[in-house]
Amino acid sequence: MSSVATIVLDASNYALILLLIALGLAIIFGLMNVINLAHGEFLMLGAYTVLSIQMAGGPFWLGLIAAPLAVGLFGLVIEEVVIRRVYHRVLDTILATWGLSLLLKQSIVLVFGPGSHSIEDPISASVMIFGAPYPAYRLFIMAISLLVVTATFLFFFKTRIGLAARGVIANRNMAACLGINTRNLDRMTFSLGAALAGLAGAVIAPLISLDPHLGLGYLVPAFLAILVGGLGSIMAPVVGAAGVGVTENLAATFLSPVYAQLIVFITAVLVIRLAPGGLLGKKRRQT
C-alpha cells in the first residue's frame, strides 16, 4: 500500500498533465469554436517526437524542447490548410479534425509500426517525501506543468494580446470590428494549443508505452474536464482537470482503472446535468 503522500502526488501529477491538454482544447474551442478531435494525436506526436530523437541517439531533454516546437509548428500549418476553411461550421470542424486524427494515427503506423515503444527514464533518481521514495522525474513533470500553465495564464490575463484573445472569446465580431486581427489570433491560438498538447505528450512519454492510439485515453478525460469546468472560459480547465484528474486517479488507485473511468464518466455526466454550463460556466445570454 502506497503512502498518502504518494497517492496525493500521483493524483496531482495526473491532474496537471490533464490540465496541459485541457487548456489547449479550451482555448482552441473558446476562440475558434473548434472542437479539436485531433488533440489526442497532437499529444501523440509530441511523444513520438521524443521517440524519434531517442532513436537518432539524441538526449531526452532535446526531445522535450523539440516536441512543443514541432507540434506547435504542425498546428500552425494545419490551421492554415484545414481549420481556417471550416471553422465557422461546427460539424465540419468535427469531421475535419476527426479525419486528421485518423490520418495522423495511420502515418505513425506507417513510420513507426503498429507496435509499442518505450522511452528511457530521463531521471531515475528518487526523492524521499514523508519517508517514502518518490520518482524525481514525476516531480519534474509537476514543476514544468505548473510553470507552463502559469505562463499561459499570465499571457492571457496580463498581456494586451491575451486581453484581445479573451475579447475574441467573449465577442468575436465586436473584437474584430475594433481592429483585433482575429486571423492572427486564430493562428496563434491553434498553434499554442497544439504546442501544449505536444509538450504534454513529451513529458509523459517516459511514463507510458507509446503506441499510435495513445491519444484517445487523454482526449476523453480532457474533454470531460472542460465540460465539467465550463465551456468558453479559460479558467474552467483548472477546475475541470483537478476534478476529473483527481477522481480518476484516486479511483484507479483504490478500485481499478476500469472502474475509475466509469466513475469519472458518471460523475461528469451528473455535474453537467446539474450545472449545464459547467462549474465555472456562465448562463447563456438570454435572447
Binding site: R160, L163, R166, N173, L178, I180, N181, T182, R183
Partner: protein
C-alpha cells in the same frame, strides 16, 4: 473638391438568401456629419454591419479613403480607420472600463486612455468598474470612447440614444459635435431621435426599400414634416 471619404456603389447585402439592401449607393464627404433615418426594420443596422464587414457584400463596391474594402474582414475595415459603435453597445461585460478602452486600441498609451476618459468624465470616476456593471447610458459612452481611442477617420454609430435618459443623450450629442468640430472627424449617425439628429447632423438621408430614398440638409428637416411622415410614420 475633395474626394468623398466613403463611397458605397450599388451595394446589395442581407441575411441568408434575402436581400435587405438592394443596389444602394451613398457617398459621404470628409468632415461631414451624416444622419441616417428610416423606419424600424428598413435596414439601417444592416447597412452599418455591411460597411463593417460583418455581412457579405453580394454585389457592388465599397471604397473608404481610397481603399477597396468590399468584403474585407472587419479588422481591416477598422484598421483602415472606421470606428464602430453598434446598436446595443456591445461593451465587454467582464472587462473593466480601462480594458474595454484598450480593446479599442491595443497600442493605447496612458495619455490616450486619459484623453478617451476626458470625453466622458464618468468613465474616469468608474475606471475599475466592469462594463457589465454600468448603466445603459454609461455603456453607450464607453462604447463611443472605445471607438474614438482608435483615432478613426470615420465614426459610425447605430442608435446611440436608444434606451438612454435624455440628459445623457444630450451629453453624447455635445461630445459628437465637439469631436466633429475639433478633429474634423466624419460621422455617420443612425438615429430615430430628432433632437440628436438636428443637434449633430449636416445632412440626413432616408432609407427605404433597400436604398437611399432622399437626402436633405438637416436644417430643412424641421420645416418639412411631410418627409418625416413619409419615411418615419408606421
Amino acid at each position: 473638391m475633395d474626394k468623398p471619404v466613403l463611397e458605397l456603389d450599388g451595394i446589395s447585402a442581407g441575411y441568408g438568401t434575402g436581400l435587405v439592401l438592394q443596389d444602394l449607393s451613398l457617398t459621404v464627404d470628409r468632415g461631414e456629419v451624416l444622419g441616417i433615418m428610416g423606419r424600424n426594420g428598413v435596414g439601417k443596422s444592416t447597412l452599418l454591419k455591411t460597411l463593417m464587414g460583418l455581412l457579405k457584400v453580394r454585389s457592388g463596391r465599397l471604397t473608404f479613403s481610397g481603399h477597396d474594402l468590399t468584403n474585407a474582414p472587419s479588422y481591416r475595415v477598422a484598421a483602415a480607420g472606421v470606428g464602430y459603435v453598434p446598436q446595443g453597445r456591445e461593451v465587454f461585460p467582464d472587462f473593466t472600463i480601462r480594458q474595454n478602452l484598450i480593446m479599442g486600441n491595443l497600442k493605447a498609451r496612458n495619455d490616450d486612455i486619459d484623453a478617451a476618459m476626458d470625453l466622458f468624465p464618468v468613465l474616469r470616476e468608474r475606471a475599475r468598474a466592469t462594463g457589465g456593471s454600468l448603466s445603459g447610458g454609461q455603456q453607450q459612452q464607453l462604447a463611443i470612447a472605445r471607438a474614438l481611442i482608435g483615432r478613426p477617420a470615420l465614426l459610425v454609430l447605430d442608435e446611440p440614444s436608444e434606451g438612454i435618459q435624455p440628459s445623457i443623450v444630450r451629453e453624447i450629442g455635445t461630445t459628437l459635435k465637439q469631436v466633429s468640430a475639433e478633429k474634423g472627424m466624419t460621422i455617420m449617425l443612425v438615429e430615430q431621435n430628432m433632437d440628436m439628429i438636428t443637434q449633430c447632423c449636416d445632412r440626413v438621408v432616408f432609407l427605404e426599400g433597400g436604398r437611399i430614398a432622399t437626402s436633405v440638409p438637416a436644417a430643412q428637416l424641421l420645416e418639412s414634416p411631410a418627409l418625416l411622415n413619409k419615411y418615419m410614420a408606421f
